[in-house]
């Protein structure tokens, strides 16, 4: 750990390598996370297009697929094994690599030190390691696409016994091993990150920056880091046990009496439900590890662009803490149909419904924040509003799923797919886009194009609704998720037309993302130069240069005199007062 006793005041030169590759500067690490995240977002999106093609045109040869995918699409038709690999890798990549590492990695790294007035993270070297371990996890995950047996194909939830027996299906062989290795690395990386985010927030705030003056973003990242710190080790425990089952012949998760291909399986006495408990003990907090950062970015952007203080700041902070705490005790709602004791199920119903309260409070505070505000519709603001527009229907449907008797009908149908794509997937992606548009000028010193940004928003928002809203109806009609083709039964094949429609919408929404990619990379080099504070915002990062110099501040770190959201203060000269402006003593 970089703890040092000598303080020299010499400037130092950075070589290309220490500046851009093995950099310990939190701003560079944030950009590395962002670019890697975008890479994974593109991969995940391409996988989703392949799935959608299959669902819209089952059994119709598309020669181009064979050209791209080779043996996975012989004769132009996707193999069922490969379809399962697609859902597995799409889920894993989007949930962990884009919306956990990409989102938290980018914004916790970028915003925590800048918004609390620190020069860097508490442990810059660990921070660098965190990125490079994530990079290694990425390489392993990517490599699994190119092996003989293909990538993991047992669902992103990795339920045994399918995942515990290497010879159950091809996708449970080497691909699943690589998945486990990659995820173990991923967990290590996220722990290193969390250590830094928590310690930095508590120990490195500048003078005047009390906890009550932290921007909501820092609170969000902080609570997220605690959640990750406490829940990822549990997944690691499960993953290690799964590795034992797969490599050393133990029977943690493999039940007795299993027969595979006519042969009895040598394992006996394991309990597959145990994995579900371990997985969802992480898995549910994980969905909030994704949602809370998005929520907190959105809160910041709403207040800035509504030119109003964030409504009920303290209550919102309390709600975030409440969500974080409750999210650790609701995991059982994923397991209502696993045969758990109904009394225990009922307990999980109650805790799950309880978590809707802080969630609703947070949403209401946000709505009041924009109510009668002087709204500025920047692309960031549009995405922040879009976040609310996606999260609300998702959370409302959560209440249905939380009720065990209703969930018994809806479990493992497209209703669940629609639910979590609204609450987690698309809304967190919108939060992330909002964050990128908002902080891009600070990160890269240039502005992104406004018009393209707005086009990107409308394409995405309409596209996402057209894709996922119909899935609620498919789910209510009983269409199961994770199926390769819906041709066999009438109650599923009746939706073939709708599936075509959804697929077209998916390509339209995808095309909108190309606008973003172009805008992003073009603006890094060619965008209009940004000044210090293009959005006239109050928090500390906007009071230093764009991009901030190495060390963030000049010779003095800033001093904070007021809360983060002093917008439209009556009697003030401008409609915002930065946190660094001293409070004048009233003299009459």
């Amino acid at each position: 750990m970089a703890i040092h006793t000598e303080h020299t005041e010499v400037a130092h030169k950075q070589s290309f390598i220490t500046k851009y590759i093995f950099s310990t500067d939190h701003k560079t690490i944030a950009r590395q996370y962002l670019i890697t995240g975008i890479f994974w977002g593109v991969v995940g999106m391409i996988l989703s297009w392949l799935m959608r093609l299959q669902l819209a045109y089952p059994n119709q040869p598309m020669p181009i697929l064979e050209k791209i995918l080779g043996k996975w699409a012989e004769g132009g038709i996707l193999k069922p094994e490969f379809y399962v690999a697609l859902i597995t890798m799409h889920g894993t990549i989007m949930v962990f690599f884009l919306l956990t590492a990409g989102l938290s990695g980018t914004f916790s790294n970028y915003l925590i030190p800048l918004q609390i007035g620190a020069r860097d993270m508490a442990f810059p070297v660990l921070n660098m390691l965190s990125y490079w371990v994530f990079f290694a996890a990425s390489v392993v995950m990517l490599a699994s696409f190119f092996i003989q047996t293909g990538p993991a194909a047992v669902g992103w939830t990795f339920y045994p016994p399918l995942s515990a027996l290497k010879n159950s299906i091809p996708g449970a062989d080497l691909g699943a091993t690589l998945w486990l290795i990659s995820m173990a690395l991923f967990i290590v990386s996220s722990l290193l990150g969390a250590l830094n985010y928590i310690t930095t927030t508590l120990n490195f705030r500048t003078k005047g920056m009390s906890m009550g003056r932290l921007p909501i973003t820092v609170w969000g990242m902080f609570v997220t880091a605690i959640l990750g710190l406490l829940s990822f080790p549990v997944l690691l425990a499960g993953a290690v046990m799964l590795i034992f089952d797969r490599e050393f012949g133990t029977s943690f998760f493999v039940p007795s009496g299993l027969v595979l291909g006519g042969q009895p399986v040598p394992h006996e006495g394991g309990n597959p439900i145990l994995w579900q408990h371990l997985f969802w003990f992480l898995g549910h907090p994980e969905v909030y590890i994704v949602a809370i950062p998005a929520f907190s970015l959105v809160g910041e952007i709403l207040a800035t662009n509504a030119r109003k203080p964030l409504f009920a700041y303290k209550v919102s902070v309390g709600a975030i803490i409440g969500i974080g705490a409750l999210s650790m005790i609701v995991w059982g709602h994923h397991m209502y149909v696993s045969g758990m004791n109904p009394v225990l199920g009922e307990v999980f119903v109650i805790t799950t419904l309880a978590i809707s309260f802080p969630t609703a409070i947070l949403v209401f505070n946000y709505l009041v924040t924009i109510w009668r505000g002087n709204l500025r519709f920047t692309p960031a603001m549009l995405f922040a509003l879009g976040f609310l527009g996606l999260f609300i229907p998702g959370a409302l449907t959560g209440a249905f799923l939380a009720t065990a008797p209703v969930d018994i009908q809806l479990h493992d149908t497209y209703f669940v797919v629609a639910h979590f794509h609204f609450t987690m997937a698309t809304s967190a992606a919108f939060g992330m886009f909002a964050g990128v548009y908002h902080w891009f000028p600070k990160m890269f010193g240039r502005m992104m194009n406004d018009k393209l940004g707005k086009l990107h928003f409308w394409g995405s928002f309409i596209g996402v609704y057209l894709i996922f809203f119909p899935m609620f109806f498919q789910g209510i009609a009983g269409v199961p998720r994770r199926y390769y083709a819906f041709t066999e039964y009438n109650f599923t094949s009746q939706f073939l037309g709708l599936n075509k429609f959804i697929t077209i919408a998916a390509f339209v929404a995808g095309a909108a993302q190309l606008l973003f990619l172009f805008n992003f990379f073009w603006s890094i080099f060619k965008g209009k130069k940004a000044d210090k504070n293009p959005w006239k915002a109050t928090t500390l990062e906007w009071q230093t240069d764009s991009p901030p110099p190495h060390g963030n501040w000049g010779p003095e770190t800033p001093v904070v005199y007021r809360g983060p959201y002093e917008y439209s203060v009556p009697g003030a000269e401008e409609d915002y007062i930065p946190q660094t402006v001293p409070v004048k003593v009233e003299t009459k």
């Binding site: 303080h7 860097d120 500048t206 710190l229 990822f232 006495g269 770190t557």
Partner: protein, 216 residues
């Protein structure tokens, strides 16, 4: 907790040899007065966070253990005696490392080094003893996959050994640094971090040992 009294001058830019800015330890950013920061050295606080993650890991493993144990078909076996011996060795190492710390506080650097070296050696002895214990179990015909009870036994002791090996590496690292004349009563952070982690591993082992003893 020891509060670091010496802080860099207010607003001093702290640059270490890597070209990394640092915020100055133990207080507010940039060396401001610490009323806005925890009165804990950041590295120590970070270590406690790390320890809480490890606690979660072992809570998960031992909860799984309890669930599986209560489901029956649980082979009972007697732990080889060497595990008792190892437990004693580890306890002893905790004692010697704590004594070494007392010596360092009084700036008795020579005896600090001796005691610290002994602790490191005891740590290595513990690891060697664990390996011998596993070998004896295998000779008794109790393999990883024999029964859930043995699977869990190897899993828990193995996971502990991995963490302990990390501890031994850090002890060796600190010991080498102490040979280079690094530590004194005023500069002992690295030693303190090692010792905290070492005591934690000791307590963790006691927990696992009692846990396993009661159920096998």
């Amino acid at each position: 907790m020891v509060i670091e009294k010496k802080r860099p001058k207010s607003g001093a830019m702290d640059i270490d040899f890597n070209g990394t800015y640092s915020n100055g330890g133990g207080g507010g950013a940039g060396g401001h007065s610490s009323s806005y920061a925890l009165p804990v050295q950041p590295a120590k606080f970070g270590l406690w966070l790390f320890i809480s993650a490890i606690i979660m890991l072992f809570s998960a493993l031992t909860s799984a253990y309890i669930v599986r144990h209560s489901a029956g078909n649980w082979l009972r076996f007697e732990m080889p005696e060497i595990f008792w011996f190892n437990t004693f060795v580890l306890l002893l190492s905790s004692l010697t490392i704590q004594l070494s710390y007392f010596q360092l506080r009084r700036d008795k650097v020579a005896s600090f080094k001796v005691l610290f070296a002994i602790s490191t050696f005891l740590g290595l002895l513990f690891l060697a003893g664990q390996v011998m214990g596993w070998n004896q179990l295998r000779e008794m015909g109790i393999y990883v996959s024999t029964n859930p009870s043995s699977s869990f036994f190897y899993l828990l002791t193995g996971a502990h050994a991995v963490h302990l090996a990390g501890g031994v590496i850090s002890l060796i690292y600190v010991f080498v640094k102490s040979l280079l004349g690094y530590y004194s009563s005023r500069n002992k952070l690295g030693v303190e971090l090692c010792i905290t982690y070492w005591h934690f591993l000791d307590i963790l082992w006691l927990y696992l040992f009692v846990f396993i003893k009661v159920t096998t």
